[in-house]
């Protein structure tokens, strides 16, 4: 059995993923032979990075090459611990952090709630308390008075060396921050919060974060306007092209309004939708026009991309993006912002940024789930549920549901328009993460995708297959409604990896696509049963 203190000890590999030991998937997914071959790390990655946690790399931080570099790394890491405990540097999360550091009873009540730990066959390294307890011992020893002596007395002595630091960093990217464990904790301790604080230390002190979240994520968004790299002119051209697509596909004549001052609604999509799932912004446009809503999109910096990757790893990046998004709304003088189908964007803007915004920037922000529920139930759209006569289940994005309590509106819609709607078990605030949470859905460097599919997404896949166990035949087309861009990204890759479309005929998509598919104004079905 792996012990916490093993983290500091040199070893080629602390643990490894053995598919045979993992939670089995139902047939035809139960054989391990059918899985795609694992991605091999390049010789360069092996030589430069430390993959000794579990053989996978998410961040791939370069190993210090000299003793001096190692000492420098340790010194800066310990300085980062001090900043985490400083009211100046960490006022935003200091209370949550200290409460979770100081009040864990080590009772392990939370561990079975973790879909990663259980799916892995209860691998100790993925136990939610493993990382927390390791971090707690490091903080107690290196950032508190008398820590070194107490660590020895209590038998909780962890040596901070380069191996410990590199493994701790990788370990912080083996948790999707879904907070199921926090829900189960009787003390109110939050392992996910501790994980986020570890990520924050690395980003804000050591400038180390996954490239997809930082350089190609929040930095890109603040520089060009969107983490996709889409500049305003390009995004406007793309949406114009999508308006043409709508015309061609449905005969509806729609011109997406841009930068319309005084509109009732500023709609902000996750810009990833525009590139990867254009049918989603198209469906939004069809619904809003059909319902007669006064709406607009913004071409301002961050005004057309609701993502906020800082939520997962960096307070400064988080705050910068959150403020710029509402500044775009303020400039247009809209009555409210409606957030498209993106879970973390909901939480970032409506919850975490709430107290950060000065009064003049506190533009009301509403979920598209509620907004769409009101449109659908008001009767403003002519809908025929018979058009959605196929099995549908609903995935609850953690950020929108467990962390915001938006549970019922999307269900009210599905119950009204999908006669074969069925729930997953468990669902609502007790849902399982898709496995792409906290940025994982956009992270594909090194061999991290293999871990994401084999471990992180396993519980969700099992749950989806079980929801459709009465109709496993691939000829019966089925739909997983995932009203979140990151979750859809995970489903696309996960389904592709396991061949779910081919073997089970399960498609994933958003909520608005189902609404438009039920609209009687359209001659042809909106949903194209093609996997992409």
């Amino acid at each position: 059995m792996i012990k916490i203190e093993d983290i500091a000890r040199p070893a080629d590999r602390l643990t490894e993923i053995v598919p045979e030991r993992m939670v089995p998937l139902p047939p035809p997914y139960d054989g391990v032979d059918a899985l795609p071959p694992r991605k091999r790390l390049t010789d360069r990655a092996r030589a430069n990075c430390d993959c000794s946690l579990d053989g996978f790399l998410a961040v791939g931080m370069t190993r210090p090459k000299t003793e001096e570099e190692e000492q420098q790394l340790i010194k800066r890491f310990i300085a980062g611990l001090d900043r985490l405990l400083s009211p100046d540097d960490n006022w935003a999360f200091l209370q949550q952090l200290t409460l979770s550091l100081d009040h864990c009873a080590r009772c392990q009540t939370c561990v079975e709630a973790c879909p990663i730990y259980t799916a892995s066959g209860r691998n100790e390294v993925y136990r939610p308390t493993f990382r927390s307890e390791l971090f707690r011992r490091i903080v107690n020893k290196y950032a508190k008075r008398g820590g070194k002596l107490l660590a020895k007395l209590k038998g909780e002595d962890i040596e901070v060396n380069a191996t410990t630091i590199l493994r701790l960093l990788e370990s912080a990217y083996r948790c999707t921050l879904c907070r199921r464990c926090a829900q189960a904790c009787p003390m109110g301790v939050d392992n996910a919060l501790l994980t986020r604080e570890i990520r924050k230390l690395f980003s804000m002190e050591l400038s180390i974060a996954p490239k997809e979240l930082h350089e190609n994520g929040s930095v890109m968004q603040l520089r060009v306007g969107s983490s996709t790299g889409l500049k305003p002119r390009v995004v406007k051209d793309t949406i114009e092209f999508l308006d043409d697509e709508i015309r061609e596909q449905t005969g509806l004549n729609i011109h997406t309004p841009w930068d319309k001052p005084g509109a009732d609604v500023l709609l902000i999509h996750n810009a990833g939708e525009i590139n990867a799932w254009p049918e989603n912004p198209m469906a939004f446009a069809i619904i809003l026009e059909a319902a007669g809503i006064s709406w607009t999109m913004s071409s301002d910096l961050a005004g057309y991309d609701s993502v906020n990757y800082g939520l997962w790893y960096d307070d400064a990046q988080f705050a910068r993006v959150a403020v710029r998004q509402v500044q775009a709304a303020k400039k247009l003088g809209v009555k409210k912002i409606v957030l498209g189908e993106c879970g973390h964007a909901h939480k970032a803007s409506m919850v975490t940024a709430d107290r950060l915004l000065p009064k003049d920037l506190d533009i009301p922000r509403e979920s598209s789930m509620t907004f769409l529920r009101d449109i659908v139930l008001s009767g403003r759209l002519k809908l025929d549920p018979a058009r959605n006569a196929f099995p549908v289940t609903l995935h609850d994005p953690c950020n929108m549901v467990r962390m915001m309590g938006i549970v019922k509106p999307q269900r009210d819609i599905l119950k009204a328009i999908c006669p074969q709607f069925r729930e997953m078990a468990p669902h609502g605030v007790e849902n399982y993460c898709c496995g792409g949470g906290s940025g994982f859905a956009v992270m594909s460097a090194f061999n991290f995708e293999d871990w994401r599919f084999l471990v992180a997404g396993r519980t969700k896949l099992k749950q989806i297959l079980e929801a459709f166990e009465d109709c496993p035949d691939p000829e019966t087309k089925k739909y997983v409604c995932a009203p979140c861009s990151n979750c859809k990204g995970q489903f696309r890759d996960l389904f592709n990896y396991y061949g779910v479309w081919k073997k089970s005929g399960i498609l994933y998509g958003g909520l608005v696509e189902l609404i438009v598919n039920a609209m009687t104004d359209l001659q042809k079905p909106y949903i194209k049963w093609e996997f992409h």
Partner: protein, 305 residues
């Protein structure tokens, strides 16, 4: 003043002061950003049942927000007295944990009853006897429940595969200490001449003579005194710190537009200096959070057109 009385008074003082310091420290923490976690026991009952929030309402900012504490108190009572979370998530631990917790609660009641005895006038013989008998019964129950609970927990912590890798020296020490307190309590209670509760009543009244009590009684009170001094420095303060972890963090869902005080406190926080050293944080040295947020980091000019 007799030494045992003195020791108990000193221990209780440290206990109160230590716990007060922890509470004050938690209260003086800077106002933090929201970190809600549902279900939150607020709002209409049918919504609470599935974990819904005010965000489900159309234009939620135009509707009244439920700030009532009724739901929170009801939830917390179940948590404190029935250990709901452990019951639902770790049944093997729950039985022993429940016994230990109830042992502690009943012990506190019996101690309070014995203290009440000392407050009664000497002429109220019937009332004194009645209260002492009640305290005796309570204390027997408490020590039995607590003793079984702490030993059961200790065994579970050591032998249960889910727990053993995470059972620290401190955990073993804490549970052994509690087992010793309950064990010595039980022995002291049944001392033939001067039972532990009479001793407590006398100690509180400052009337006992050194050496007059059984060694089990002295040992018991010494352990209790040590526990009281030790308690504020352990995670066992979760007993009351739950107020902060639950009410102060995960249930703290009051929107800023309904909390002007909170907004002002955050504005003050934004004036704090930032010392994080990653290059993307600062455009200039010694910046405030407000300056950092309005900057783009060391990114140069934006390419936004």
């Amino acid at each position: 003043m007799p030494p045992l009385t003195l020791a108990l008074i000193a221990a209780i003082s440290v206990f109160l002061l230590g716990n007060l310091c922890r509470v004050v420290k938690a209260m003086l923490m800077p106002v933090h950003l929201r970190w809600d976690l549902y279900p939150i026991p607020k709002g209409p009952r049918d919504r609470q049942r599935y974990g819904g929030s005010y965000f489900e309402e159309t234009e939620w900012w135009t509707k009244p927000i439920d700030t009532g504490l009724g739901g929170e108190v009801a939830f917390m009572l179940k948590e404190v007295f029935l250990l709901r979370g452990v019951f639902e998530n770790f049944r093997a631990l729950w039985v022993w944990s429940l016994l230990l917790h109830w042992g502690l609660y009943v012990y506190m009641v019996s101690a309070a009853t014995a203290v009440a005895v000392s407050a009664l006038g000497a002429h109220l013989v019937f009332e004194r006897t009645l209260l002492l008998n009640a305290a005796f019964a309570e204390c027997v129950d408490a020590c039995t429940l607590g003793g079984i609970g702490s030993l059961g927990l200790l065994a579970t912590r050591i032998f249960n595969s889910r727990l053993k890798g995470f059972t620290t020296r401190a955990t073993v020490f804490n549970l052994s200490l509690l087992a010793a307190i309950f064990g010595t309590g039980l022995i002291a209670l049944f001392h033939p001449n001067r039972g532990m509760l009479i001793a407590l009543a006398e100690i509180v009244a400052g009337r006992h003579a050194t050496g007059a009590y059984s060694s089990a009684t002295v040992c018991h009170f010494a352990l209790v005194a040590f526990f009281l001094v030790y308690f504020p420095f352990t995670h066992m303060t979760h007993m009351y710190m739950k107020y902060f972890t639950w009410h102060g963090v995960r249930w703290d869902d009051l929107p800023a537009r309904f909390d002007e005080g909170g907004r002002r406190a955050i504005a003050k926080n934004l004036a704090r200096r930032v010392f994080w050293r990653a290059p993307h944080i600062h455009e200039a040295a010694d910046q405030s959070w407000a300056a950092v947020v309005s900057s783009s980091g060391q990114l140069g000019k934006t390419e936004h057109d």
